[in-house]
């Protein structure tokens, strides 16, 4: 199995049950992945959904849960870390990714908000799973 696919399947096993529509056992991990922490502090969930919808319109190739999950965890050994150290590591991993986006200029403007690409993808995922 390719490493990339292995990681994705490992992650699916580790956390996305509610993403697939069942139970709330992994709700916290899901919410961490779907809802950008800083943005959700600053605005309401309806705005997060609007931003997510705008991102999906802007980047239609990513407009599905699988691709967005892939992209959100791309480049980080998230699943392995989560398996080894627990789901609480997901937040810091995403924070790190968001800061790296800002540092390296991966910034998108959605509904006027200047956001890291990672946050934009989180919003997009949120807009898909909370419709």
């Amino acid at each position: 199995m390719e490493r990339r696919h292995f990681l994705r399947y490992a992650l699916v096993a580790a956390l996305p049950a509610p993403l697939l529509g069942c139970g709330n056992r992994h709700a916290r991990a899901d919410r961490t992945l779907q809802l950008p922490q800083v943005l959700s502090q600053l605005t309401d969930e309806a705005t997060v959904r609007r931003i997510g919808k705008a991102y999906r319109a802007q980047v239609p190739t990513e407009a599905n849960q699988e691709t967005l999950t892939d992209r959100l965890l791309e480049g980080s050994p998230a699943a392995l870390v989560i398996r080894s150290f627990g789901k609480s590591m997901l937040g810091p991993l995403l924070d790190h990714k968001i800061r790296r986006d800002f540092k390296e200029g991966r910034i998108v403007v959605l509904e006027g908000w200047l956001l890291s690409q990672t946050e934009a993808r989180q919003c997009a995922l949120y807009s898909l799973v909370t419709v």
């Binding site: 600053l42 968001i98 509904e111 006027g112």
Partner: protein
């Protein structure tokens, strides 16, 4: 000495060494420099000591292009000039503002910032400003409670502002001018034309009129136009009796390159942790210093943007404040009353609180340089005012560079806010689409009229030389922001006063040539 020109017998002749046309910040600063000198100074003011509708009416004009404020209320036509509704904002121009920037067409001054430094320091007491210090570290050392936002200084830096009380020149300097033995202040003395010799190379006299129907003549060795950017250009263009294109206008430059500062709410900053951000705040009549966010020179060069700053205004609810341009009064008297009322309310109000409230939302307000643009210009209208002078028409025209610069400014601030974990920035509607070069009707400006008699070493490119002398007319000078080739990010008052003091030194050299000693 003060003389009301309405009381003189008509066709009086007034004579002196130096004639200053206009008694605003530039004209009064210049006149004060000549107190107690052996020279006879004539200071001509079109209005009186109080703002009056009839005088403001003489400033009425047309505007075309980008929506602009009414001309009859954006400048004040009385002793003290527009300092009568000035908010007191002062800062120096940055070294980059004087440089030729290859991405800013028509940029570059024939003098550098170092030429103005000593005059900035001299201008400070005239404007009742604090120490001549514009370094953030100086102010942080002075008040350790002030905390700058944790931004990378290579990306987003700070520009320091100082605030005049604000000094109303008409009130503060009236006695000094009126009591100066060698200064003759004439009120209700509107200069309607400049007369030259037959070649149009020497000003012989100027004609003064008023609404009482009196007309006088003023003769002097040197003349200084110290109206404002619109009125200086208007007078040069209207003085077309001997030279059809007007004076100083051999190369069609008079009136061109009119510039403003684009002032507009452009974004919001949402903080994860509420803060007072006291370093950035301004309260009318209270604050004497604050910082604004700015882009360092190196970054401006790299990104090829104009100079601009961003101020922070606390918000308690998520809605946009009304646009300045929608709330600006049509009448000059109303603008003065508005400020007087603010001052009265401040004096009646509670003393400012020591501990400021904390906010998690701030409006981000832009002050952006306008690129010098020959199409942005003042011309003469067919309609004449009550004194028979053609009214001014202002065509205010912006370029895509200003908008790209504003957007880039916020891209950087948004990036820094995200990187620092401070919060997020949200742009206003009209700034969201990078490809859109249009401007909203609500775009404001700072009532900062600049350009129109720009400084350049070549008469083909500018109206005045590095000493503010009109090219080709050795005894005619211009004082004020109409000489600015570029407008920088800072409000013009401090710089125009500094430039006027420099002009004064130059005029003193002309009127007091060094005595030659013979061996």
């Amino acid at each position: 000495m003060h003389i009301d020109a309405r009381t003189l017998e008509t066709h009086s002749l007034i004579e002196g060494d130096l004639c200053i046309i206009g008694a605003g910040a530039a004209g009064i600063s210049l006149a004060l420099e000549w107190q107690n000198t052996p020279h006879r100074v004539i200071l001509l003011e079109g209005g009186g000591f109080e703002v009056e509708a009839a005088m403001q009416e003489l400033y009425r004009g047309n505007t075309t292009g980008q929506r602009y404020y009414p001309l009859q209320s954006s400048r004040l036509h009385y002793f003290g000039g527009t300092t009568g509704h000035w908010a007191g904002f002062c800062s120096t121009f940055d070294p980059i503002d004087f440089q030729r920037r290859d991405w800013v067409p028509n940029s570059g001054w024939p003098i550098g910032r170092e030429a103005l430094d000593p005059y900035y320091a001299r201008a400070h007491p005239l404007l009742d400003l604090g120490p001549y210090e514009y370094d953030l570290r100086y102010w942080l050392d002075k008040d350790p409670s002030l905390t700058p936002l944790p931004f990378d200084e290579q990306m987003v830096t700070h520009k320091i502002w100082q605030f005049s009380p604000p000094t109303r020149f008409g009130t503060k300097y009236r006695d000094a001018i009126v009591n100066a033995k060698n200064i003759q202040l004439y009120t209700y003395a509107n200069v309607t034309r400049l007369d030259t010799d037959e070649q149009g190379r020497h000003i012989r006299q100027v004609t003064v009129k008023n609404l009482a129907g009196k007309e006088h003549t003023v003769r002097a060795r040197y003349f200084v136009l110290a109206g404002c950017a619109i009125q200086n250009a208007r007078l040069l263009l209207a003085s077309n009796h001997q030279v059809p294109n007007g004076l100083g206008n051999d190369y069609d430059k008079v009136g061109r390159y009119f510039m403003e500062h684009l002032e507009v709410t452009s974004a919001d900053l949402f903080l994860t942790t509420p803060a007072s951000n006291q370093l950035y705040l301004w309260q009318y009549f209270v604050t004497r210093m604050r910082a604004e966010l700015a882009i360092p020179e190196q970054k401006q060069k790299e990104l090829k943007i104009l100079n601009g700053t961003v101020s922070l205004w606390p918000k308690t609810e998520d809605k946009q404040p009304p646009a300045m341009i929608d709330t600006f009064p049509d009448s000059g008297e109303a603008t003065v009353r508005k400020w007087e009322l603010r001052e009265q309310n401040y004096k009646k109000g509670d003393p400012p609180k020591a501990a400021l409230p904390r906010y998690n939302m701030f409006s981000l307000f832009t002050r952006m340089e306008q690129a010098p643009n020959p199409a942005s210009r003042v011309t003469l209208d067919r309609e004449q005012d009550a004194l028979g002078m053609p009214r001014a028409t202002l065509h205010w025209e912006l370029t895509p560079l200003e908008k790209r610069s504003i957007r880039t400014l916020y891209d950087l601030i948004g990036q820094q806010a995200g990187l620092a974990g401070l919060g997020r920035v949200r742009l206003v509607d009209w700034l969201r689409d990078k490809q859109d070069t249009s401007w909203p009707e609500t775009l404001g400006a700072g009532w900062h009229h600049m350009g129109t008699t720009r400084m350049h070493q070549s008469p083909k490119e500018g109206v005045v030389d590095a000493n503010c002398r009109v090219h080709g007319i050795p005894n005619l000078f211009v004082a004020g922001s109409s000489c600015f080739p570029t407008g920088g990010a800072a409000n013009p008052t401090l710089t125009l006063v500094a430039l006027t003091l420099r002009l004064s030194d130059h005029l003193k050299q002309l009127l007091n040539p060094p005595t030659r000693t013979t061996a």
